[in-house]
């Protein structure tokens, strides 16, 4: 009935479109600015897990699960004694609050209660850990201090999500109406219905998580905002795929939750690294197997029962899982041999599929992980050299790839050939949108091949305007800055490496997508995380976000981090009565 009314009142529709063109950027700014600001200014107060008393009587807090003890400036606990090696020992906390001391090949040796440590030995609270004769004692936090610390950290709580959520809901409603208008006489209930479902899923997620005492929702707000754009892009270019894209948002959200909860337990996560490495190779290789149905001429699509998936997208999650490592492992196996082998296998498969954009993304992610793990420039230089060699070999085998680069930077002179065709149309469409865009569903670029995937930045600019397109890019940058800042309070190197790798992957992918579309880089044909129309890409974007969620150690912020039980919490509150209840009450009001 409403649809009928809309078609009968073209005057209203025209006014509506004109109005929302200006309203959308303002709404988007209001939704994202607070969120982005909150993520960028995360105080990241380190948690304290135990104390180490030094011979001089000082008490050093252990602020991570994995701590390096040594004379060197980059140690977590600096022991400035000549007998202590630069990087002498590691104290690592395992589940259930048990600690282990590791001798990192020190000259002076490590003893626990006088017994020499061969490799590693468990440490109880009160035990004396001596490094080359320098004696330290591991002490637990008193329950009072634990409670106080928790309280103090809680004062820096994340921004309240509710205003943003309400604005985002308004954004979604207006988008659904505008998209329905843009369909004109062909409008069906499909668009409003799908957006209604998205809004419902979003509220359900927020309410359930809030009910389980989680308060940090910045990343989810960003992800839901970008997913909304993705649905709008899909509706504009191919309404038939809209519901499928929504299902992928729901699937992605489910994957995000499962992965996040799984990451809570470090030991569990560590155990399945091998499985993940195998899965990464299997996913990268599956479409190369003979007899596997593929689609679109490119060999990177797999079709099962009419559903097309891009397994290499899912391989990204497994790859990062396999690449991240705890400090313990970093000392145990210092070289990157197996990881290089894994990378080689995945890149080889992608090269065979001629999916060089994705291969480049994996390679950059590999560089980030390798550097975080080894910190060794010489190895990286060697690897890069190998990469250049591989690229040259490939170019000599498949010289047609070079043609893609021939028009690089000269798209306008090659407006009718190759990637210049798509790039010039992207830029022309993007510019005609101006700052506010022509209105969702009103653009033209979706008529160009890959308009809603590889060229999606152009579609964003055209239909949503430069402001929102830049906000989308800014959101990805924000996630990267957050990941780096969160390192300071990181519990385990596993989480830190995974988060940094996941954001680097997203950032680099965004670089290739955005710059490729507008001729700053050659067009490589990769998707914009969350935004591009593509189910597997959407699912993998949500999956990557789980790694970030697992580094958010702000109290109660993230579901990917185990909370103290309610009983424990109550006990804490009793020990630090001045603020406990107040905070909860105050928060409910927001």
């Amino acid at each position: 009935m409403l649809l009928q009314w809309l078609t009968d009142n073209p005057q209203f529709c025209a006014w509506f479109t004109t109005l929302v063109r200006f309203l959308f950027p303002i709404l988007a700014l209001m939704i994202l600015i607070r969120t982005i600001h909150s993520l960028l200014t995360v105080p990241c107060l380190p948690e304290v897990w135990a104390y180490l008393t030094l011979p001089n009587g000082a008490q050093e807090p252990l602020t991570h699960w994995e701590n390096i003890l040594g004379r060197g400036g980059s140690s977590d606990v600096i022991l400035n004694y000549p007998v202590v090696s630069r990087q002498h020992a590691a104290l690592i906390r395992r589940a259930e609050d048990t600690w282990t001391a590791y001798d990192l090949g020190s000259k002076g040796g490590v003893t626990v209660n006088g017994k020499a440590v061969e490799g590693s030995a468990p440490v109880q609270y009160g035990d004396v850990v001596a490094l080359g004769g320098v004696e330290t004692v591991l002490l637990p936090l008193s329950p009072e201090e634990k409670a106080q610390r928790r309280q103090r950290r809680r004062e820096h709580r994340p921004v309240s999500p509710w205003l943003g959520l309400i604005l985002l809901t308004l954004f979604q409603v207006l988008t659904a109406v505008q998209l329905t208008i843009s369909e004109g006489e062909n409008a069906t209930v499909m668009i409003p219905l799908t957006f209604l479902l998205l809004t419902g899923v979003m509220w359900l997620y927020f309410l359930v998580l809030r009910a389980s005492r989680r308060v940090g929702f910045e990343m989810e707000t960003i992800a839901f905002f970008l997913s909304t754009l993705s649905l709008a892009i899909t509706a504009s270019s191919n309404t038939g795929e809209l519901f499928k894209q929504f299902l992928c948002v729901a699937l992605g959200l489910a994957g995000f939750l499962i992965l996040g909860v799984f990451l809570r337990e470090l030991d569990r996560a560590k155990r399945i690294r091998w499985l993940m490495a195998g899965a990464a190779i299997a996913l990268a290789a599956v479409t190369l197997l003979p007899g596997v149905p593929t689609q679109y001429g490119a060999a990177n699509w797999l079709t099962i029962a009419g559903i097309s998936v891009q397994p290499s997208e899912l391989a990204k999650i497994c790859y990062i899982f396999a690449g991240a490592a705890t400090l313990e492992r970093l000392f145990h196996r210092r070289n990157l041999g197996l990881f290089i082998l894994l990378t080689g296998a995945v890149l080889g498969c992608l090269a065979l599929m001629s999916d060089f954009g994705t291969a480049a993304i994996f390679f950059v992610t590999f560089l980030v992980i390798a550097y975080l793990r080894s910190g060794d420039w010489a190895t990286l230089a060697l690897i890069c050299g190998g990469g250049v060699f591989a690229v040259l070999t490939m170019l000599s085998l498949k010289p047609y790839i070079l043609r893609r680069f021939a028009t690089w930077g000269h798209a306008w002179q090659n407006a009718s050939t190759g990637s210049g065709y798509q790039q010039t149309r992207t830029m022309a469409s993007a510019a005609s949108g101006g700052l506010v865009g022509v209105g969702p569903g009103e653009g033209w670029l979706h008529n160009v091949a890959a308009g809603d995937t590889d060229l999606v930045f152009g579609m964003l600019c055209e239909e949503w305007g430069l402001v929102i397109a830049l906000l989308a890019v800014g959101s990805v940058i924000t996630l990267a800055v957050f990941a780096v800042r969160a390192c300071r309070a990181g519990r385990s190197s596993f989480y830190v490496i995974a988060a940094c790798a996941a954001t680097s992957m997203m950032v680099f992918q965004t670089c290739l997508n955005v710059f490729g579309a507008v001729d700053i880089l050659p067009l490589t044909g990769v998707t914009f995380p969350f935004v591009s129309n593509g189910g597997t890409s959407m699912i993998s974007s949500w999956g990557l976000l789980a790694f970030l969620k697992a580094t958010d150690t702000r109290p109660n912020a993230s579901f990917a981090i185990r909370l103290p039980s309610r009983r424990e919490d109550r006990k804490n509150a009793a020990l630090a009565p001045q603020a406990g209840e107040e905070w909860e009450v105050e928060h409910e009001e927001n």
Partner: protein, 452 residues
Amino acid sequence: MKKIEKRAWLCLLLAGALLLGSAAFVFRFVANGASWASYLPVFSGQPASGRVLDRDGDVLTWVDEGGVRRWYDSATVRTATLHAVGDAQGRIGTGALVAFADRLSGYNLLTGSYSPLGQGSDLYLTIDARYNYIAYQALNGRKGAVGVYNYKTGEVVCMVSTPAFDPANPPDIQDGDERYDGVYLNRFLSGAFTPGSVYKTVTLAAAIENIGELYERTWTCTGSTTVGDGTVTCPHAHGEQDIYAALSNSCNGVFALLAAEMGEDVLARYTDQAGLTASYSVDGIRTAAGSFALDGLTDNELGWAGVGQYSDLVNPCALMVYMGAVANGGRAAVPELVLRTENALGLPSLPSFTRQTGALIASDTAEALADMMRRNVTDQYGASRFPNMDLCAKSGTAEVGGGQAPHAWFAGFLRNADVPYAFVVLVENGGSGADVAGSVAAQVLDAVVNGY
């Protein structure tokens, strides 16, 4: 952990690259957005909204309610204004439909090409469709270019380039079709041709300032003058002449001697100063720059270069501006093609300010040159052909070799205060400049000055 924390800067490096690249894109977006957006109608095949009108308000092209482009109803007017208006396919890049697409669609950075009003603007060109029609008829099927502009205000009132076609019925043009040779090129703005004797106005300006006792000198022309190690020939012997007669006779021998005497550096300096090697921005359309290889020439080659032959190439629009500068005491207005735009609410655009060229010629020299060019008209071309006009002009008959007839040129200006126009006419392979190009100029100027 602290170690890994320090290594995380690598991620910031990547994020920085994304930020930097986005900033570069934003910069390009702001700087080139108008030009990028102007291609969308061509790419999408959906004509940009907005109407193109001539200075009198004759609607030359518009988009009807069904989104189809419509044109003025006379085929000859459509053809005569083709290069000023452009075609639906956007092949004529200097046509208003492409070059001024941003103003037609009402492009602005905030709302892009789609104004909130949903309608395009009215773009008034400075040209008068009637003058174009007359010029096109006068060219009579020959290839060439005609330009007339007001050197005080910069308004180009007539701009024709041939060959042309009817944009309402675009022909299927095959590669190598002689009839449509360079049809998408606006010869007036984007062409460069051997100037022949019209270039003597530059050589003469240099001579006035650099040759002592120029006015007292006399030369005897036998039809063939030795310059350097070769000869420079004239169509026939001009006999004994002073500089006035040498210009009105357009004696190659005299001007070749003057050029050789001054040297290539002096000639190059005056050519550059005259703006003939520069490119003008005509409402954002870059004109083609002429080229004069005045470097390392023998005296004989320099002599030929001094009479507008050898490898000299001049852009008709730049020559017209130089003519305007001679008329206007050394400086002229830079040509303009957009008179004004009105948006869908009828609000006019901000008035554009007339831009002046630099000093293309010294003021005294310009006056002396103008007087001599006036004598060309009275002594040679015939003042009666140009009624009610204080016309100063120079013809050119530029040899192009290859057994082809020479290019015919006629360039000059009116000194009348009420019709301050400079003009250029080029008829490719037209033959005699004064006769062929002069008669085209006469017809167009008669319409401009005397009306119907």
